[in-house]
């Protein structure tokens, strides 16, 4: 198999560019089982976020003290919590907040990263140097550390958790966007445009930016999963959304107290965080693969 591919690429340029099954553009690649499952999960999650009552007709805040701490059953698929609220309904209801938090945080991170990366990649060597040093300093605060520092300054809460997650993902995005900009800028087609006498602004707008922004779609999709996990971690630590809210991280946090007697309280919200993250990663990967072969 591998030797065949080496031979194929040796016979000439173009011959080994892509496996036969992948040729023919964006839509015609074979869809894998994982991709199909991811799309299905994504549709379900979006339905839950936009029309929660379609999947769970009950009231997520309805209290039923007699049914408290019920194990998963036909009546309550995911069990009930300490006040007898239905966990399944609450998980479905939490999709909106959790997805919204992940999406907003990713947009903030991508936006900041795009601004920083574009500044560094287009405004000359001195600016590039300064922005790079700044990014290196930010990289010295690994993972959640930057987010924790932000929360220390602006106080805990759902809003500052979102901004904190966005902020701590921004340096990574900025670095990738800058590298992509530099690569596109030194490519043959930009050189051709320069030779043709096009202006700097026109080249930037028509040739460089479109080719830099396409990979952002992949980065963003991959990033949503990460952002949701981080935001949930902050909620779990009591620094983001607070327990009465049906946000997945906050639900997990509330279930922590009853971990020995009611495992379902923390298991199911967490399961949906994992599902969302896997789904986002799979979708991001498949978009990336299709772009590369398109």
């Amino acid at each position: 198999m591998s030797e065949l591919e080496i031979q194929a690429s040796a016979t000439g340029p173009g011959a080994g560019r892509a496996p036969a099954s992948a040729r023919g553009g964006f839509g015609r690649m074979r869809v894998t089982v994982m991709e199909l499952a991811a799309v299905l999960v994504a549709v379900l999650l979006l339905t839950a976020a936009i029309f929660p009552r379609l999947l769970a007709p009950g009231d997520p805040l309805a209290i039923d003290p007699l049914a408290a701490f019920g194990a998963p059953s036909w009546e309550h698929w995911f069990g009930t919590d300490e006040s007898g609220r239905d966990i399944y309904t609450r998980v479905v209801d939490g999709a909106r907040d959790s997805l919204l938090i992940g999406l907003t945080a990713t947009l903030i991170g991508l936006g900041l990263g795009a601004v920083l990366g574009t500044i560094a990649g287009t405004l000359g060597a001195a600016v590039d140097f300064t922005v790079n040093r700044f990014l290196e300093v930010l990289f010295a605060f690994p993972g959640l550390l930057l987010a924790l520092l932000f929360i220390l300054v602006f106080g805990p809460g759902p809003g500052s958790a979102i901004v904190a997650v966005g902020l701590s993902t921004a340096p990574g995005y900025a670095r990738i966007i800058r590298a992509q900009l530099l690569r596109v800028r030194s490519s043959a087609f930009v050189e051709a445009a320069t030779v043709q006498g096009l202006g700097r602004g026109r080249i930037l707008a028509r040739h460089i930016l479109p080719n830099t922004l396409a990979p952002l779609l992949v980065l963003g999709t991959l990033g949503i999963g990460q952002a949701i996990v981080w935001a949930a971690a902050l909620s779990y630590l009591g620094l983001g959304a607070q327990p009465p809210a049906a946000e997945w991280g906050a639900m997990l946090s509330a279930g922590r107290t009853y971990i020995t007697s009611a495992w379902w309280m923390s298991f199911f919200p967490g399961l949906f965080i994992v599902l969302t993250a896997v789904c986002a990663t799979t979708l991001g990967r498949s978009i990336e693969r299709r772009m590369r072969h398109a």
């Binding site: 591998s2 030797e3 591919e5 080496i6 994982m34 040093r133 290196e136 300093v137 930010l138 010295a140 605060f141 690994p142 993972g143 959640l144 550390l145 924790l148 520092l149 932000f150 929360i151 220390l152 300054v153 602006f154 805990p156 999963g225 996990v229 949930a232 971690a233 779990y236 630590l237 009591g238 620094l239 991280g249 997990l252 279930g255 922590r256 971990i259 020995t260 495992w263 923390s266 298991f267 967490g270 399961l271 965080i273 994992v274 993250a277 896997v278 990663t281 799979t282």
Partner: protein, 300 residues
């Protein structure tokens, strides 16, 4: 580098609304007399201009003095270093275990056909997507509540380390494994593997003697980042398993807004992170001597 980190944290902390002297005396709303506030300001040097405070802090940091905690009434330096050991042990053990899992998974599933590769990469994607807080609670439920074989909170002995290390290592192994599999496949398709095969090297020999070194490279350079993510993972894991360490100290300090402790922990973590990056750079140049040997292409 550390100076830059110190500057960023100093000015970030200056943005905090409210009077730090009030925070020291029990937060806003506590009925404190103006005299007590003034005394605290003098004690912590808060009566000086911003620039003087900044220079004073840099001077103290240069001599290894991290200041005094607002909430715990003890020096930050000894506090942070007493907690450092536990977190470092956790991080280093987890990194080692993660490497081991990733290596086994990647080498087991390559060259065994499509199904094995699918299983391998599926496990890695799911592993990488597992958030620490959920994995930890699930492990506690299964191993402590249902089977009762391991303690749910971290005790001092080795048994108490198993669950925290597993929590940190499994997602990391997923990340490392993905990277390793990709570079292993690239390496197995490169000409030097073909030439090794042509010399009559066995499949296993090709894998272990030739391709693995290439596969390990990106994973080694990723280890610096991995270490950073382990430290931020330690915030969650130490909290869940009630394990003393830097992460829990940091979380507590953020919750009560104990600024000097947060700054101290951040400084120490940044220092450890920078050191770790240097170590991984050294390790990758050991595994790949190419840049130092003037293009000799030592692909042994």
């Amino acid at each position: 580098m550390l100076w830059a980190v110190a500057t960023v944290t100093f000015f970030a902390v200056r943005l905090i609304p409210g009077d730090p002297a009030e925070a020291i005396l029990g937060g806003p709303g506590s009925q404190t007399s103006p005299e007590a506030l003034a005394a605290v300001r003098v004690e912590y040097g808060l009566d000086q201009p911003v620039l003087v405070q900044y220079l004073q802090q840099l001077g103290r940091l240069a001599t290894g003095d991290l200041g005094r905690s607002y909430a715990l009434n003890m020096d930050v330096g000894p506090l942070v270093f007493s907690q450092l050991g536990g977190t470092l042990l956790l991080a280093v053990l987890s990194l080692g275990v993660a490497w081991l899992i990733a290596l086994l998974l990647a080498t087991w599933s390559t060259g065994r056909g499509r199904l094995a590769a699918r299983i391998g990469s599926g496990l890695e994607i799911v592993g990488a997507a597992l958030p620490h807080f959920w994995l930890a609670t699930t492990l506690i439920v299964v191993f402590s509540v249902w089977w009762g074989v391991l303690p749910p909170i971290s005790t001092a002995d080795a048994r108490g380390l198993v669950l925290p290390v597993a929590t940190l290592a499994i997602p990391l192994a997923g990340f490392l494994g993905q990277v390793m599999r990709e570079s292993l496949n690239t390496a197995l398709e490169s000409p030097f593997v073909l030439s090794a095969r042509a010399r009559g090297e066995s499949d296993r020999g090709v894998l272990w003697r030739h391709a693995l070194r290439h596969a390990a490279l990106p994973a080694i350079s990723l280890s610096g980042w991995a270490f950073g993510s382990l430290i931020s993972g330690a915030v969650v894991v130490e909290t869940i398993f009630a394990r003393p360490g830097l992460g829990r100290t940091l979380l507590n300090a953020v919750t009560v807004r104990d600024v000097p402790v947060v700054v101290g922990v951040v400084m120490v973590v940044a220092l450890a992170y920078i050191l770790m990056t240097i170590v991984t750079d050294l390790a990758s140049s050991l595994a790949d001597p190419r840049p130092t040997e003037h293009g000799n292409g030592a692909l042994s």
